[in-house]
Symmetry: C2
Subunit: 181 residues, 2 copies
């Protein structure tokens, strides 16, 4: 049975293929519930997805959590970007004097209707004034700890090698290869 | 046919009754989609509600929009309260130096599956350091323009007389009494 990745984002599918091997994209439009817990958002999407597939698929959600906002925006990041943009987020961190942030990907994998598993990857970093043009979303304002540039100043490969999404995908991959554990 | 108000909040039902006359509470749990446009959130809830009723019901959503966050949190206010609380919201306004805010209620009324109407009530005010204990939610940090106290320093009656929710309910009431317009 092929493994399906439910997403509208072709780049994410390519990234998943590089780690998991064969992955099929399933581009269905799922309602996204309001929550600041990504697991709840993904769980609701998985339940909705069972209308299309009985299992053998995964969904991901990526959050940006600012320490100065006690974890916000989290999974609500896209609405923050829409309302205040990267500059607005950087301003919030600067005004608070606390630049700490965490980027987090949660993957929900539905093996079947009775077996749903979650895998999380996260990396810590700092919120900086927007720098760089590569990649997308909030990449210009996130500088992972141990690096001297933002995600948007890295090549796609460079970013994908160290990203929170890779960490979550590798956990899923490990699980798929060692289902007995 | 009775008019149903879909909400889990008994106080809101009482407020609606005071303006609309007979209103029945319908307490069903509806998923709330992510959006910063309240109309979209309500529309999704109305579509979901048709599983229970063919029409003759309304739903409301109340937002708090901070000028310093370009309209955020809007309908996402409950997650901001959960993450940073009233004090955190007041701090954001204070650090920005811009205290302007708007409180907004949108009502979606489904007369039937083909006829959905929206009514909006809003009042302007200022974000202040938390004051008062009455009422609920973000009432302690919202001081409506023209008043010298927060919503939480007003009695329930005092607040309900001037609230954004009353304005929206009165528009709905006017519509129900003059359907030809």
């Amino acid at each position: 049975m092929p493994l399906y990745f439910i997403t509208g984002n072709k780049n994410k599918v390519d990234e998943a293929k590089a780690i998991l091997g064969e992955v099929e994209q399933l581009d269905i439009d799922l309602p996204e519930i309001q929550d600041i817990d990504a697991n709840n958002i993904i769980e609701a999407k998985i339940l909705e997805s069972f209308k299309y597939k009985d299992g053998g698929f995964f969904i991901e959600d990526t959050s940006l959590c600012l320490d100065c906002l006690n974890g916000l925006p989290g999974p609500l990041i896209k609405w923050f970007l829409k309302a205040i943009g990267n500059q607005g987020l950087a301003d919030l961190a600067e005004k608070s004097g606390n630049y700490k942030a965490e980027a987090k990907t949660v993957i929900g994998y539905a093996k079947s209707k009775r077996e749903i598993y979650f895998f999380e990857g996260s990396i810590k970093g700092k919120i900086i004034a927007p720098q760089g043009e590569a990649n997308f979303g909030w990449d210009p304002i996130f500088r992972p700890d141990g690096f001297d540039k933002s995600f948007a100043e890295m090549s796609r490969e460079e970013k994908n090698n160290i990203s929170m999404r890779r960490l979550a995908l590798e956990k899923l991959n490990n699980f798929l290869k060692n289902p007995a554990k």
